[in-house]
């Protein structure tokens, strides 16, 4: 059984179909890329998977369970976490609090004990803080835990977003253009990091990326989306030489 399977997914905005007959699967532990020109519908697919949009048609299965149309917070609890193309941190809050919010789904005390500040509250808060710091340490952000998230440099904001997503302890991590705005060096580091967290946290990863070298270098399988439809699927070698893909990116050849 695939980790995530999508059958015949459709989503239209007004008369424009953003995603059409989208079929997709990702196996456990796989690293799959979703590429395509601007406006191809990649982020819409992510929004459909994570419940931000409700699909018009089609089904999404996580480990065989139908999660189509579930609200985002339930899908999160099922084990899907994501980052955003345009970073969406809780800007006014500290770096540490950003990660702590992700741990709220595992909150070890009730609201009543929080009102009364019983010992179980303090114990729970200590636990949450320690776990959050652990995630920050992985991404080298523990020294900046008290800074406001919006004050971090761009690259660190990206890493904090991944840390925050990982803190929900997902089984499937979805990254929307994680290398956007990074220089080649940073991109390379990021790729190493993505590979490392995949094995460390036993994750399946789905990523959208514009940087071709990055996608080709790290993904095991690639889907190519154009005008809301999949035009190619395969290992990086196949995609690189696929005529339709080249056309979609560079335009048709002139005879």
């Amino acid at each position: 059984m695939p980790h995530l399977q999508i059958n015949n997914l459709c989503k239209a905005f007004g008369g424009l179909s953003a995603v059409l007959n989208f079929d997709f699967y990702i196996n456990k532990g796989e690293l799959v890329g979703l590429i395509g020109p601007n406006g191809a519908g990649k982020t819409t697919v992510f929004n459909l998977i994570t419940g931000v949009y409700k699909p018009d048609q089609g089904n999404i299965y996580l480990n065989g369970e139908d999660i189509t149309g579930m609200p985002p917070y339930d899908i999160c609890k099922k084990g899907i976490a994501r980052t955003f193309q345009n970073i969406r941190l809780f800007n006014d809050l500290s770096v540490l609090d950003n990660v702590k919010i992700s741990l709220h789904i595992y909150v070890p005390y009730s609201l009543a004990t929080a009102f009364l500040r019983l010992p179980v509250f303090f114990k729970g808060e200590d636990e949450i803080t320690q776990q959050a710091i652990k995630f920050l340490e992985i991404f080298g952000l523990d020294k900046k835990k008290d800074e406001k998230a919006s004050n971090l440099p761009y690259g660190e904001q990206r890493r904090l977003e991944i840390a925050r997503a990982l803190a929900t302890r997902p089984s499937l991590l979805i990254l929307d253009e994680p290398a956007a705005g990074m220089n080649p060096n940073e991109t390379k580091e990021l790729m190493e990091l993505i590979n490392w967290i995949r094995s460390e946290f036993d994750l399946s990863i789905l990523l959208i990326e514009h940087d071709m070298s990055l996608v080709m270098g790290v993904c095991e399988r690639i889907y190519v989306l154009d005008y809301g439809q999949i035009i190619a699927e395969g290992i990086p070698e196949e995609i690189r030489n696929n005529k339709q893909v080249i056309e979609a990116y560079l335009g048709e050849e002139v005879d």
């Binding site: 919010i101 609201l111 509250f121």
Partner: protein, 322 residues
């Protein structure tokens, strides 16, 4: 470990300071040093703090603009008076019923309206606040537009003090817990919060219900101090008064709400003597504050020992530099 020790020390210090404050005021009242005029204003200060801090939970921390807070206060006021004056049960039961009734109203109004955002929510809550007032005006059992009079005065200083402490403890403890972080996440970015597993509707309603309950408490205290209550007292102008305190103090700052509630109540009392120009001066002061501190007196920061210490040491440092 030292951190824990100093925390405990601070907590003890707080308790001692508060107990001293309580005893001091109680002493001033029993000896008659604090005359009736000051007592009325003291009561208003406490009631306004409860209102501002509870509205700040909704508007400041959850980021949901509500303009119907006076409606919940009205439910609390009339609910408690029905229990204590009309039915003759003890005042404490009236307070409990006031809070429960207001919380229930908060839930009933919150579930449908909190799907709305920004301006739409503000208008919807404004409408609901007015509906509560008009409904109350048309119930003959509670006197219609004339309201209820002859309410015995039960809101004494100990009652006020305990009410204030309960409000502060519940709301501050809630904000500083994981549930509070979820509530603040809703304000910061709803989509990101949902993706991180926060059921935003649930936490909006939770904040709305808790805020409404304490507005109900404030209503009960108000009713049992001023002898008479009329539905029109709790119109949208009252809601705006509370909103002004919250915005002035800084959205999302509990200590800011407290300071602003004290400031505005005292200002109002002071301006009573200049009735003709009262609103002009009041408005001018608000405009000046909003021009120079658009984020409110405290922004979204809290007044803490750390900041006080910083200001103190800053002053010392500058004086030694000279």
């Amino acid at each position: 470990m030292e951190d824990k020790k100093s925390k405990r020390g601070k907590f003890l210090l707080e308790v001692i300071v508060l107990a001293a404050l309580f005893i001091l005021v109680q002493y001033l009242i029993t000896t008659g040093l604090l005359n009736r005029y000051y007592q009325i204003n003291l009561t208003l200060v406490v009631i306004n703090i409860i209102l501002a801090v509870s509205l700040n939970l909704i508007n400041g921390f959850t980021g949901q603009l509500s303009l119907g807070h006076a409606g919940f206060m009205a439910i609390g006021a009339f609910g408690s008076v029905i229990i204590s004056t009309l039915l003759g049960y003890p005042f404490i039961l009236g307070i409990i019923v006031a809070m429960l009734a207001a919380a229930m109203a908060g839930f009933i109004i919150g579930v449908p309206t909190l799907r709305l955002k920004g301006d739409y929510l503000a208008i919807a809550t404004l409408g609901f606040g007015e509906i509560i007032r008009v409904v109350l005006q048309n119930i003959d059992y509670i006197g219609g537009p004339a309201g209820i009079s002859g309410i015995s005065k039960m809101t004494t200083w100990p009652v006020l003090f305990i009410s204030l402490m309960v409000t502060m403890v519940v709301i501050v403890n809630m904000i500083n817990s994981s549930y509070g972080r979820a509530i603040i996440a809703v304000r910061e970015d709803e989509i990101a919060a949902e993706i991180m597993g926060v059921n935003t509707t649930k936490y909006k309603v939770l904040a709305f219900v808790v805020g409404a309950a304490f507005a109900g408490l404030a209503g009960a205290l108000y009713a049992h101090y001023f002898y008479i209550i009329k539905p029109e007292t709790f119109g949208f102008l009252k809601s705006f008064d509370i909103l002004v305190m919250v915005v002035l103090g800084g959205l999302g700052s509990t200590t800011g709400a407290v300071i602003a509630a004290i400031f505005i109540t005292v200002l109002n009392a002071f301006l009573q003597e200049y009735a003709a120009v009262r609103m002009i001066i009041y408005a001018t002061i608000l405009i000046i504050v909003m021009i120079y501190r658009p984020q409110g007196l405290l922004g979204n920061k809290e007044l803490s020992y750390k900041i006080l210490k910083k200001i103190w040491s800053g002053k010392n440092a500058s004086s030694t530099n000279k």
